[in-house]
Amino acid sequence: MTSSATVVPTAEKGTSLGADAWRRLKRNRVALAGGIALVLIVTACFVLPVLLGMDPETTDPTRKNLPPSLQHFFGTDTLGRDYLARVLVGGQTSLLVGLAATAAVVIVGVLYGAVAGYYGGRVDEILMRFVDFLYGIPYMFLVILVMLMFSDTERGNPIPVFFALGLVQWLAMARIVRGQVLTLREREFVLAARVTGAGDMRIIVRHILPNVLGIVVIYATLTVPAVIILESFLSFLGLGVKLSWGQLVAEGVSVVNPIDSYWWLLFWPSVLLALTLFSLNFLGDGLRDALDPRTRR
């Protein structure tokens, strides 16, 4: 069908979508680079501080606002805390919030959207009206409302933030999935499966979900950064977690002035944030392509 004569690559072996996808992903250099970068960032944030006994909290008035040096690779902040430690530990929160909220968004959004789209009719109408209703509320208002339900001390840890951000993000996911499922449901290969006697469960799992996976992956990789940025905004309002990239960026911005440029305070968290977002995007694109057998790789 295609180019070379020895095209029969996976023939006799017997392949599953998962194995095929993995094979295609491995050949996609950009996606692979994104994946590796992510692994490095995650490892650095979660392993290094423990391994090296880093301390992001101890202040030292004699070592305020030091630029990056061999002693403090990322410099120190306005209270004399080691900035590398702060950036890495802050990354823990950001990544945790981003990934956990996205996982929740994917699970809830996909299930909700799939049920609405697949069963259609009344069920769909009721489920989607509820989504419309939540959509109608300005999401920042919703997030802040949820945050205020928790006490000050609770607000310091990532759970409430994750909860609040997941709450607004799943709506879009549910809508996207529902729209896709609604059209897939009428596709002829789904009808063929029904004529064959396949049950709802089998149709959803084998025929519908694999065909929405691509768009779910893309949307999920967009959700992680969206959540991380939303979290930064909450930090900005003083509602976020104590230490996160968003918080650090906010602090970094506040000390930028024309006389003393403490550029590193803004630079490091921004770079790591950006690096994470790009890696996620590349990996997401690659995943989507890998999940589609039509991609030639």
């Binding site: 017997g14 392949t15 290969f189 004529v195 064959t196 006697g197 084998r206 025929h207 589609d292």
Partner: protein, 362 residues
């Protein structure tokens, strides 16, 4: 079985055994509007259709786009639940009454082949999973190895390469090959009836004949009956034992193939026949081409639904006060048209009921 590669099945249909018997089938799709999804009208896609299909027989179902052919096929297969009215007896059992396990059992015996070879195969499944799914669903294979062997048999039967093709994905195939995969899927459960919904309309002319031949060969080998849908009479002549001509949700004329093509009685059948391009370049141009569009099935014309386009239309064709008669003008040859009365030996066997469509919520 020599020299019949392209001719009609040698064994032919077993007319003593009716596989499917459809009576007064109606499928109206509700049109909903507004906040509370109020039903404001109906698309009367199928509005009183009756026919029988015998074992090993091909019944062609022909009509212009939108006349309800697909809806007939899908409603019978329970893809358009709930049915509006009528029955469809499969070996004497009304398919619309089946639930749960009984319905699943029926699924093994009735299958479908679609028109579009692209949207009819799941792009994320290999040929093996596509063709073998039915075997798994019905527990007809003990393990993967057995399933693979069965799928390879099926591929071979349908003219595909059992080794090289089995692990491929649909996008790697041409339209004709994809249609063969769809056929392999349909015959996997050895059904007695397959609804073929324009199975060759989307294919190149050169490929069409191959696919039709394949269907005919499978019919000979397995004794499958086909409801073969097409929108022109040219395609079905070759493959059908009998042909039903449909217009706006109703059957206009039904007869065995020779009779229908030689002695069409309904003006619509005549019009469709004269639309077939003649192989003879000196043949006169079609003197009475079909004019105008098919009216909407939401508000079909009163009386005979064909009357706005019929050059024989009389006053009695145009209102609901006089029902349109159905004549049997020969053995198994029925026509729903007043002109039936002019045929020697015509028997009036019924009439099209106008009844409820005008009292509906429209």
């Amino acid at each position: 079985m020599s020299a019949t590669e392209t001719a009609r099945p040698t064994k032919g249909p077993d007319t003593s055994r009716v596989v499917l018997s459809v009576r007064d089938l109606k499928k109206w799709f509700p049109i909903r509007k507004g906040l509370f999804s109020r039903v404001v009208g109906h698309v009367k896609a199928v509005d009183g259709v009756s026919f029988d299909i015998h074992a090993g027989e091909t019944l062609g179902l022909v009509g212009e786009s939108g006349c309800g052919k697909t809806t007939v096929g899908r409603t019978i297969l329970r893809l358009n639940d709930p049915v509006t009215a009528g029955i469809a007896e499969f070996h004497g059992q009304d398919v619309f009454e089946l639930q749960g396990g009984d319905l699943r059992a029926l699924r093994r015996r009735m299958q479908i082949i679609f028109q579009d070879p692209y949207s009819s195969l799941n792009p994320r499944m290999t040929v093996e999973s596509i063709v073998g799914e039915a075997l798994t669903v019905h527990g007809m294979v003990a393990n993967k190895k057995e399933r693979r062997e069965r799928v390879q048999d099926l591929l071979e039967k349908c003219g595909l390469d059992p080794i090289r093709h089995i692990t491929r994905y649909p996008h790697e195939f041409s339209g004709g090959q994809r249609q063969r995969i769809g056929i392999a899927r349909a015959i996997a459960l050895e059904p007695e009836l397959i609804v073929c919904d324009e199975p060759v309309s989307a294919l190149d002319v050169s490929i069409q004949a191959q696919v039709i031949n394949l269907l005919q060969r499978l019919q000979e080998e397995m004794g499958i009956a086909y409801l073969f849908i097409a929108h022109g009479l040219a395609v079905v002549e070759h493959i059908s034992h009998r042909v039903a001509v449909m217009y706006l949700g109703r059957i206009a004329e039904i007869a065995d193939t020779e009779t229908l093509y030689a002695n069409p009685v309904h003006p619509y059948t005549q019009a469709l026949l004269s639309a077939i391009p003649s192989p003879d370049p000196d043949a006169p141009l079609n003197p009475h081409p079909l004019e105008g569009e098919v009216p909407t099935p939401i508000n079909p014309p009163a009386g005979c639904r064909f009357h706005p386009r019929c050059r024989f239309a009389e006053d009695r064709c145009k209102s609901n006060t006089t029902p349109i008669p159905i004549y049997e003008v020969g053995p198994g040859h029925r026509v729903a048209c007043i002109l039936g009365e002019n045929v020697d030996g015509a028997k009036r066997v019924g009439e099209l009921v106008h009844g409820d469509d005008e009292t509906s919520a429209s």
